[in-house]
């Protein structure tokens, strides 16, 4: 069997609170740009982590998914599950915790651990109607 690239995706879930707010803006300006999102609320996020590679000739695996589960669990789920994203160091300085910024932050956390040669795509679902895909910088 010849080894083409295989993409393996594992799902993770975490629940977190956030609000969209920029301190340097007036309340009116925040409300105009962010609408209802200025009020602290929360989501059950679903994170899909896709790694790529050729299946190992001996194990038949692109990556040890138990290792992936441990890496994402330690770096992402443990950090963000039941957390207030606005208080996380990534966002505490004013970066707005949008799904876009959160997926990018998660990429930055995972890329050094998983390796950019293996990490292919992150898909972050904020709710069943909205998701963002990120393929790295």
């Amino acid at each position: 069997m010849t080894g083409g690239l295989v993409y393996a995706t594992r799902k993770f879930t975490f629940s977190a609170a956030h609000r969209y707010w920029r301190e340097e803006w007036s309340a009116e300006e925040n409300a105009r740009v962010f609408g209802a999102l200025t009020v602290t609320h929360g989501h059950n996020y679903v994170l899909e982590v896709t790694v790529r590679g050729s299946a190992d000739a001996r194990t038949g695996m692109v990556m040890d998914l138990a290792e992936l589960k441990r890496l994402v669990g330690d770096a992402v789920v443990a950090r963000f599950d039941h957390a207030d994203l606005n208080r996380d160091p990534v966002f505490a300085q004013g970066l707005v915790p949008t799904t876009e910024n959160l997926v990018r932050a998660i990429w930055d956390l995972l890329a050094p651990k998983v390796g950019t040669d293996r990490l292919h795509r992150l898909r972050l679902w904020e709710d069943p109607t909205f998701q963002v895909e990120y393929f790295g910088p």
Binding site: Y20, R22, V33, V96, E100, R121, T129, V132, E133, Y134
Partner: protein
Amino acid sequence: MSAMRLTRTYHFSAGHRLESAALSPDDNARVYGQCYRPHGHNYLVEVTVAGTVHPVTGMAADLEALDRAVDRLLLSRVDHHDLSSTVPALAGVVTTGENLARTFWEWLETELPPGQLRRVAVVETANNVFEYEGDGARGTP
């Protein structure tokens, strides 16, 4: 540059039947089978746009504007309609998932910011999904 793909999922319910004016009734029944009979679906439409993250707002697309555009250009035209008879913009279109995906793309593309639209997927049932990404092949995202 932080290019991203953002996907929103929308819902509408509509009736339709598959019938081609170019085919005889017998051939329509043979080609389309049970889909030749009037029936309906709870459709989902997934709309994917691409953008780069704005450094101030943290947003890569204006989702409220997208919602408004999809509502006005798409959902309001088809929700609780018979796609095969009561939607003037679909006159002459055999309302397969393939044709709906391509038609919805055309409806949306003209009014969304240039180059923003990346994919339209019509989820007809949990088992049938039809995706259209436009004429030009694009890399990710």
